[in-house]
């Protein structure tokens, strides 16, 4: 039996009830079946105890597994309230009413009983209430007819609030396309329908109403398609946008990045940029790509960039060094563990290729393939992600020309590679030719690296790439 609790109001008015409390005597034969109509109190909210309806198969108790709402939340009819489980069946319990949740009768993992109250909902009486029902075995007729409108032989679902909105705006529900569950008509559908008619965004109705969060942003005013048609001048009303700011704590990986970047900020960076003519390299790679494929490896430009960097580091080892915390000592790292920045779902990760100084271009390509597939599967190991001494970031695969990369401590230098563009350049004979141009932007720690060193390293790296045959001379 439902308990009605009418809150005492300061001025109690005599209400002409539209609906009357009725017990359908014939229905009492079925244990849980009742049809109740509620008295509508005009000025007070009523608290209704929403009972757990029958699950079927003679089940009397279930375990509450998850609440989708909490006390104080607004709910609409048909919104999901909680998930309960019984004997391998997971059941979604939906609300029968529009209102505000006032009490949850169970906590997670507690046993809930069929027929006993599950939640208390305070109903906003000004909106009217759908009749209550407890579904047991197949009743002779569907109780849900009271909440539907028979339209064109199809039953249309709409909550009382939505039907009122349609009525206030003289809209036939049959003309509105429902986008909700079971094709039901939602408030946004009415608003969208109206927006299309008048070309304006409408504010919510002046009465206090529970506004469910919009699932899509409201459509802007429709562009006038037929200029000859007179566009009605919209009455000046405030534009309503119900999007809300969303605040989330910074956790996990992002937190670690905050720490790293804050430390990087302490390094005095200087930048040095240049332009590389990759015309010859592009051609070389075209020739070598099929050879690599036969060996089962995808060959990109990165292995060449990486190997050239390592050859450069042999001449300028200070770029492969590390400065200690107090800037007392510089450690020249023997291994060239060159990091390659990768963009993943989580964000930026930098695995590194170990000991590039003893790897061939092909070895590097193999290792890159391995790191890339592990990276996209989210399975990189700690050793892949630690021990880097120098980093290259191929941001050009996404786009951009020049960049200002941030050094990743404890390293002292980093290079960002822009995209390869086809541009006109002059050759030695003064003729214009089609060149494949890529820009590089270096950043270095100015405490131990000076501009001249960076420039010379860059020139050497550039010369290897512009004339790949010269790499052969210095390959170890």
């Amino acid at each position: 039996v439902c308990i009605h609790r009418v809150r005492s109001c300061s001025s109690i008015r005599f209400i002409k009830s539209k609906y009357v409390c009725v017990f359908d005597k014939s229905a009492l034969k079925f244990s849980h079946q009742q049809r109740l109509f509620r008295t509508s109190a005009v000025s007070c909210g009523q608290i209704v105890q929403f009972k757990l309806s029958d699950i079927g198969e003679g089940i009397t108790e279930v375990t509450v597994k998850e609440w989708y709402i909490k006390e104080g939340d607004s709910v609409s009819q048909f919104d999901s309230i909680c998930e309960v489980q019984s004997d391998k069946a997971s059941v979604t319990i939906t609300s029968r009413y529009d209102g505000v949740i006032r009490k949850l009768h169970y906590s997670i993992d507690e046993i809930a009983f069929v027929g006993k109250p599950l939640v208390d909902i305070e109903i906003d009486a000004s909106k009217g209430v759908a009749p209550e029902e407890d579904v047991v075995e197949t009743p002779p007729m569907s109780h849900e007819e009271h909440t539907h409108q028979e339209i064109k032989g199809h039953k249309t679902l709409a909550t009382p609030a939505v039907r009122r909105l349609a009525m206030e705006n003289n809209i036939k529900l049959s003309e509105v396309v429902g986008t909700g569950k079971d094709n039901r008509i939602l408030k946004e559908d009415i608003l969208n329908y109206l927006a299309k008619q008048t070309g304006a965004i409408l504010p919510p109705s002046p009465k206090a109403e529970i506004v469910p969060p919009l699932r899509k942003t409201e459509a802007g005013p429709a562009a006038p398609k037929d200029k000859a048609r007179k566009i009605p001048v919209p009455v000046s009303r405030p534009i309503v946008f119900s999007g809300k700011d969303k605040t989330e704590p910074v956790t996990g990986f992002q937190k670690a990045m905050v720490k790293t970047m804050s430390a990087a900020l302490k390094i005095p960076h200087f930048g040095y940029c240049d332009e590389i003519d990759l015309t010859q390299l592009v051609q070389l790679r075209e020739e070598l790509k099929p050879l690599a494929e036969i060996r089962g490896v995808k060959l990109s430009f990165m292995p060449f960039f990486i190997k050239a960097a390592s050859l450069g580091l042999l001449q300028y080892p200070i770029l492969n060094a590390s400065l200690d915390e107090n800037c007392q000592n510089v450690t020249y790292k023997a291994s060239h563990n060159i990091g390659v920045a990768m963009d993943t779902e989580q964000g930026l990760i930098v695995p590194n290729v170990k000991n590039v100084q003893v790897c061939s271009v092909f070895d590097i390509a193999v290792e890159l393939n391995r790191l890339q597939s592990l990276g996209s599967a989210g399975q990189l190991g700690t050793s892949d992600l630690t021990g880097g001494t120098f980093t290259l970031s191929n941001i050009g695969t996404i786009g951009g020309t020049y960049a200002k990369p941030v050094i990743l401590p404890p390293e002292v230098a980093i290079g960002a590679l822009g995209k390869i563009q086809v541009l006109p350049r002059f050759n030695g004979k003064g003729e214009v030719f089609k060149a494949q141009i890529m820009n590089v932007s270096w950043s270095a720690d100015h405490r131990i690296i000076d501009g001249a060193t960076m420039a010379r390293f860059s020139n050497l790296w550039k010369s290897y790439l512009e004339n790949p045959a010269s790499m052969l001379l210095d390959l170890k």
């Binding site: 699950i55 079927g56 198969e57 597994k65 998850e66 048909f78 998930e83 489980q85 019984s86 004997d87 391998k88 069946a89 997971s90 059941v91 979604t92 939906t94 997670i108 993992d109 579904v135 075995e137 197949t138 032989g153 199809h154 039953k155 569950k181 079971d182 094709n183 704590p249 956790t251 996990g252 990986f253 937190k255 670690a256 990045m257 720490k259 790293t260 430390a263 590390s322 200690d324 915390e325 450690t331 989580q346 990760i349 599967a377 989210g378 399975q379 990189l380 190991g381 700690t382 050793s383 992600l385 630690t386 990743l408 401590p409 404890p410």
Partner: protein, 372 residues
Amino acid sequence: MVLQSLKNCLWLSCILRTPKASFRSTASGGLIIQSVSNDVYQNLAVEDWIHDHMDLEKQQILFLWRNSPAVVIGRHQNPWQECNLRLLRQKNIKLARRRSGGGTVYHDLGNINLTFFTTRKKYQRMENLKLVVKALKALRPQLDVHVTDRYDILLDKEYKISGTAAKLGRTSAYHHCTLLCNADKFVLSSVLKSPYKGLKSNATPSVPALVKNLFEEDPSLTSEMLLDAIAKEYAAQHQIDHHVTLINPADETLLPGISNKTEELQTWEWVYGKTPKFSISTCLNMAYKDSVLDVKVNMDVKHGKIEVCNIDLPEQWLPPGLYGELVKSLTGSKFCPNETTTLVTTLLRVCPQDDELHSRWSLLCENMIMLM
């Protein structure tokens, strides 16, 4: 079994779009559909779609599907408790969480899945399973198969060949079950064994059972034969034509909104984040130099994220500031090896550059990651 062509997909499209099927066609009492995809997420998404969008008053639906290797956990289960996640990652076996209750199962192409869609009022698991048993007996009368009161189907009164789960919504419901034809039992038993110790949770536990493939009982049986027999019996009981309509779960025009459902089923938030709150209380045995360190670890994990983390290290083994950083970073982050790996390796960048320190850090972190 007559397989449908594209023409009938248009017919199916009409049925799927009209909320209240008011047509008078031969398929008045039921509909049998089969997925052309072996992707567990796509197939689960089809179940969701039918559950949410189709009116089952006039016709019930039987959905037939098979998946490439995947482990499917129940709605309220804990994947760490139920399976060997490390092995799954290694073998590239997918992990999915379905929306129905029940326990964990292993799917591969040797297992068939049957979903019976009805209105909420017509939800009837026992009848469905009896239908399956009837179909099996019609195909091979000598098979000793029966339905238990736990809604399992047993072969030779001993071996489980089918497990059941169900989902009930406001107006519709579905009951699905597996059927072992020729699944890889070796992989099944190894992936469904959890190596994670010290887990305490209220998640629904699975009940392990001895399993057997129907193929072992009768090598002439194939998945196709079983699917056909079940479709035939369903057709007979629902008085409809025995034909099966193929559907493509990637078809957005046929099933509008299906790609969103498919995507949602693959998000970390759904697969791992829906794990009920649990705690881990275990001991890491770390071999360091010449000794073995016993390090007690206590963690609380809620929504798949670490809420509380305590690591009982010997004093000064790690500088206290660094230990504090580690715990602070782990708190609030996902209980996930990938997230933890990227987190701890990134943190290492701002540690003093000391080899001894680095090796201790790596040792501790690798052991922590093994818990995930």
